[in-house]
Amino acid sequence: MTAPQTLVDKLWSAHEILRRDDGESLLWVDRHYVHEGSFHAFNKLSERGVTVAEPGLTFGVADHYVPTRGSRRDIANPEIARMVRQVEENTAKHNIRLFGLDDPGQGIVHVVGPEKGLTLPGLLIVCGDSHTSTHGALGAYAFGIGASEVAHVLMTQTIWQKKPRRMRVTVDGATAPGISGKDIVLAIIAHIGADGATGCAVEFSGSAIRALSIEGRLTLCNMSIEAGARCGMVAPDQTTFSYLKGRPYAPAGAAFDAAVEEWSMLKSDPDAAFEEEVTLDGRRIAPVVTWGTSPEDALPIDASVPDPSSEADENRAKYLRDALDYMGIAPGKRLTDIAIDRVFIGSCTNARIEDLRAAAAVLAGRTSKVPGLVSAGSTPIKRQAEEEGLDRIFREAGLDWGESGCSMCVGINGDLVAAGERCASTTNRNFRGRQGPGARTHLMSPAMVAAAAVAGRLADVRPLLAGRKV
């Protein structure tokens, strides 16, 4: 009898090539995703005069710097143009399949992987991007790495890791209508803190998680890094298998059935032990928005922002004062009294088809009081949304309908929120200056961003959903 194992243990041992005496393990990498930012690592390969060990397991995308408007090839800024060209050249040189600017499969790396069936249960996936945790939604062991590690993976298809602590976050109970994966994950981060899961591999479980679609689980795992987690994951189930069936790079036919049989075993054994356990009641989760400059600064929409003067802990009071000052919000103000200047619906967190449908369900027949941009997570999603007529709803509401890319999530393609402007955003980071120097970001679900657009201020989406099909 072997001891009961967690899902993390099972994925770990399937990839462990060797373990050194000091406890570091060398792990096999099944998929490596690269993007424009991976140029540091490719330069390291050139310096050493070596080639990529497993180009067939390496896939590239152009996402961080791609334009969302106008002709995609006419990039006015030469530095941005160079970033896109570099990933084209590096992937071509090393024989790596690229979902580039002109590819119909182009999109944000963490959207493309699952969409193409490259991301599968049981795989170990790395990418030089912190939100690689997203792919755990399908039962993969997926984590972000730095440039030195990217170079290491390119050269060896392996990575050194120390086994993380195991944390289980259980959310039981049916969530109310209008509550999404984003509300769940923001509630979790508010509960455990932005470093609450540091050094941990997090398995999300419980009936509220099981009930989530793959889109919802991708959002959840995407933001596990915002609690400091090494990676987040959901054990694969029928929802996962149905999602993957027929995807281009996934096994097909009998091979798919055989794979499903193996994937079905990827779950924590009943008595498996976790170093950390956290539980939340799904029935009590309300729509959540952030008010401050860390994703942990999250509150239910009917709450008020904190008042530093009623905070006993001096360090905490200072933190609150600084955050409110940056955000330009008076202490104790009700969240629903905060007026916004702009909305953004996009990013690897919340720009999949279900997200766009949720926002469109609120916006249909209504107008946005503020300008905004909608950028689908991938070009295929953009096309699907257009087939469903969602683009019309956004346009008629007064929002821009752009091409797919990271866009205003990080602003490095030029889609910026101006200094001092307040943006209701479906992205994952409300850090100071994340959407542009001086920009103020409030994170929330796509439906809540749509509600904010209609109200011109932070707003509860639930009344706006009355009588609508969601």
Binding site: A14, I17, L18, D22, E24, L26, W28, D30, G37, H40, G56, I80, M83, G117, L120, G122, L123, G128, D129, S130, I145, G146, A147, S148, E149, H152, M155, T156, T158, W160, K162, A194, D195, T198, G228, A229, R230, P248, Y249, P251, A252, A255, A258, A259, E262, T293, S294, E296, K318, Y319, D322, V410, I412, A419, R429, F431, R432, G433, R434, P437
Partner: protein, 206 residues
């Protein structure tokens, strides 16, 4: 990679929690190569206002702390994006050690790859060191990785670091050379794995 054994020098306190890699190196500088002088834009938007003037209140702009070898911060330093260039910016500015109660996971991994020590102390210890430095900016701080101690004024603090990372820093080891020595084991794993998990190989490029 340069070894890290002992270090004594000026230490700059940054009394903020959740200092993220966007703050350490704003995203617009990610296009830069290291040769372009990434150390100059370390903490850019915290150091400078929109017009490019120094913000006098930001600690690195104070005379005693302009070129710190050490940074002392509150919890969760280096959270956020995986950009290793944030570590390049610190290193190229001359910083060799960050002391804090906790660190972003990817950040501390990147740090070790570049010979930057991330020394973990408790919340109270970090505040104490920050207070001591604020009261006496010239106070040098000494870090000893072999002993795992930080000495600040007349106080000595023990810090924590993952033992594997400690060994790597002490020896200045490079991962790739080490991994190459296991080439046979990797090849053996790969061939066995391909029969064990055939579904892990991507279906033919459609």
């Amino acid at each position: 990679m340069e070894k890290f054994v002992k270090l004594t020098g000026s230490a700059c306190p940054i009394d903020q929690s959740n200092v993220n890699t966007d703050q350490i190196l704003p995203a617009r500088y990610l296009k830069w190569t290291r040769a372009m002088g990434i150390g100059k834009v370390l903490f850019h938007d915290l150091r400078f206002d929109a017009e490019g003037n120094e913000r006098p209140e930001f600690p690195i702009n104070k005379p005693a702390w302009r070129n710190p070898k050490i940074i002392v911060a509150a919890r969760n330093f280096g959270c956020g994006s995986s950009r290793e260039a944030a570590v390049y910016a610190l290193c190229d500015h001359g910083v060799r050690c960050v002391i804090a109660p906790s660190f972003g996971d990817i950040f501390s991994g990147n740090a070790v790859q570049n010979g930057l020590l991330t020394a973990t102390v408790t919340d109270e210890e970090a505040s104490e060191i920050i207070d001591a430095l604020t009261a006496n900016p010239e106070l040098p701080v000494a870090v000893d990785l072999e002993q795992q101690t930080v000495v600040c004024g007349n106080r000595t603090y023990a810090f924590a670091i993952d033992p594997v990372r400690r060994t790597r820093l002490l020896n200045g080891w490079d991962d790739i050379a080490l991994t190459e020595s296991y080439r046979d084991k990797i090849a053996a794993f790969k061939s066995k794995d391909q029969t064990k998990r055939p579904w892990a190989i991507p279906a033919a490029n459609p």
